[in-house]
């Protein structure tokens, strides 16, 4: 083959694949423009404001708490088998998730039933976990610690880890004040936690054998562990993507900043705001409405049916670590608005939290059970609703098959890739030398 053919063939293929080449005849690609109302809409997606305060965590922006939290995030001692840390599933090298379909802790007998959510921009959430069963980042951090399929630890063990390591104890007490006298073995057993459905479990017996004052003291230490980890995770922010630079250019009339935003990404953005209807749920500067929807995603093989948000309300309302509970630093403030008026609408059966799209290109697979391996698969589903699960109860009717053409799907993905920004202080990517 001549060198000319080598040059021409890819060019021909490029023409055939180009958006302007439709059904056998080439049309001139239309330049992408945005009218005034579209520009205003686009500007509502950027910039992402500073991380909101969490009034229920008085330490959420405390640097010493964040350093302690970072140390604990990477510390495998907070697990029964000594192999599991938060980082085991929220790996910075994997965009703060694990790349698996569903989470599997090192040494665990089986995986959990949901996909591991990335921690990018996690502090912007209103609810935590796919079903929102935690209403703060600090209370979220506590649940995996005591889950037998994750850290398989207990709050008493966590308190002892802090107490028995002189550096950790010192770091904790600098931020949160004195630890209880955990060396008094008769008062503070080595392991224990409340287990409502297994009152005969040794950990439950140890826990109920303590005085209520001592249980309260350990709960407070445990809550503070969560608050420190949350202070660290609050730093995991992505807000300077090519899309943000483009919007900045739009706002400032700076063509140089707009130039880096490709034509296919512009077409994808136009679809995002229009035909593809992504904006209905992925709205606001973190590309999420913060709430829950039943998108009729077919369940993964071998994973149980999941009630989603409908099942998440009760554990939230009964949690002692909720934003209105005794360990909250602001039980009567904004947290009260979130929890006090919650209802359990049936349309939230099978509904899952709308995740952010920032850095979504790096966090495959997708959906609550990791059902879709690629962004292409995700867009294929929303485009066709192929194999969508029928709902047999009152359900919202937001989804319609948007029937995107092949080149439209590629454009949409090109836009989603512009939401990528992994610039982060490298010091956050590994444990600090000392807490």
């Amino acid at each position: 083959m001549s060198s000319a053919c080598v040059t021409i063939l890819p060019a021909c293929l490029a023409v055939l694949l180009a958006p302007g080449f439709v059904q056998g005849r080439q049309t001139a690609p239309q330049p992408v423009t945005f009218d005034e109302s579209e520009v205003a809409f686009i500007e509502s997606f950027s910039p992402l404001p500073a991380v909101p305060d969490d009034p229920t965590n008085a330490y959420d922006h405390d640097p010493e708490a964040a350093r302690l939290g970072q140390f604990l995030f990477y510390d495998q001692r907070l697990s029964s088998n000594g192999q599991v840390a938060c980082v085991s599933c929220h790996d910075p090298a994997q965009s703060w998730t694990d790349g698996r379909q569903v989470g599997l802790a090192p040494g665990a007998e089986r995986p959990v039933e949901r996909h591991t959510m990335s921690l990018w921009n996690v502090a912007y959430n209103r609810w935590f976990f796919w079903d929102g069963r935690a209403d703060s980042l600090w209370s979220q951090a506590l649940i995996p610690l005591e889950n037998p399929l994750e850290h398989d630890f207990t709050r008493l063990q966590a308190a002892h880890v802090l107490h028995d390591d002189a550096k950790l104890k010192d770091a904790y007490e600098r931020v949160f004040g004195p630890l209880p006298p955990l060396d008094e073995e008769a008062r503070f057993p080595a392991a224990g936690r409340p287990i409502a459905n297994e009152p005969e479990h040794p950990h439950a017996i140890a826990w109920t054998g303590m005085t209520s004052e001592d249980r309260d003291a350990v709960n407070r230490v445990f809550a503070n562990v969560g608050k420190a980890i949350a202070a660290f995770e609050t730093k995991l922010v992505s807000r300077r993507s090519p899309f943000d630079i483009f919007v900045e250019g739009l706002r400032e009339g700076d063509l140089r900043k707009q130039r880096g935003f490709s034509a296919d990404a512009r077409r994808g953005l136009k679809l995002f705001l229009g035909k593809a209807r992504c904006f209905v749920c992925h709205t606001g500067a973190n590309f999420t409405d913060l709430e829950f929807h039943n998108d009729r995603i077919p369940g993964a093989e071998g994973v149980n049916m999941d009630p989603g948000r409908f099942g998440g309300i009760e554990p939230l309302m009964t949690s002692e670590f909720s934003g209105v509970g005794p360990y909250s630093d602001d039980p009567d403030g904004k947290a009260r608005d979130k929890v006090a008026f919650l209802r359990r609408p049936v349309h939230e059966f099978g509904a899952f939290k709308t995740p952010t799209l920032r850095n979504a290109a790096l966090t495959a697979p997708y959906m609550h059970q990791g059902q879709f391996a690629t962004l292409e698969d995700v867009i294929h589903f929303y485009s066709t609703l192929e194999n969508a699960v029928p709902t047999h109860h009152a359900a919202e009717k937001i989804l319609i098959a948007v029937n995107l053409l092949e080149h439209e799907r590629r454009d949409l993905i090109a836009f989603l890739r512009t939401l990528t920004d992994t610039s982060l202080d490298p010091a956050l990517l590994s444990p600090p030398e000392a807490p």
Partner: protein, 174 residues
């Protein structure tokens, strides 16, 4: 406080009016703009938002209406200055009885709910109403968690058990 949730709301007309057939929510740029008729003047989107936490906000203008059979008059406004998109807010509500020369309606039970007909879902919260005397009521726990067309319902039951519903339509911008 996340300022993006406080983009302005445009209210459509609507006292006790049935919305009838509506088209699905239209994205900007599709020619589907709707006029503001009742809410305060549109806010400049580039102007700094006034958050409910920033000092004492000025309540929004009153929206007035009558229940379906005309027995009760209502007027309501948001205490935070606007009806926010996807943020919690409170309503101030005043009720009067048209059969009593518009005397303030006291000791009524008031149930507030809302519905997105284009989405087939309501609010994810159950607001509570607290009577404050003189026909005034405070509605706590409001949250319109998505942009689009909302129907806001006030079901009022007076002391004699007479019940009537008042309905208002709102369009919340993204």
């Amino acid at each position: 406080m996340n300022l993006r949730f406080l983009l302005p709301v445009v209210l459509l007309a609507c006292v006790a009016c049935k919305s009838g057939e509506r088209t699905p929510p239209q994205p900007p740029g599709s020619g589907g703009a709707r006029a503001s008729t009742l809410e305060p003047a549109p806010v400049d989107p580039k102007a700094p938002d006034v958050t409910p936490d920033a000092g004492t906000p000025t309540p929004s203008a009153w929206t007035e209406g009558t229940s379906r059979e005309g027995r009760f008059k209502l007027r309501w406004r948001s205490l935070s200055g606007q009806v926010p998109n996807n943020d919690h807010f409170k309503l101030e509500l005043e009720l009067s009885d048209t059969s009593q020369d518009d005397a303030p309606l006291e000791h009524a039970q008031v149930f507030v709910s809302a519905w997105m007909p284009d989405h087939s879902h309501g609010m994810v919260v159950q607001p509570r109403t607290v009577e404050q005397g003189g026909g005034k009521y405070l509605v706590e726990g409001m949250l319109f968690h998505m942009s689009g067309h909302w129907q806001l319902f006030f079901d009022v039951i007076d002391e004699d058990g007479l019940s009537e519903r008042a309905e208002f339509d709102l369009d919340l911008k993204p």
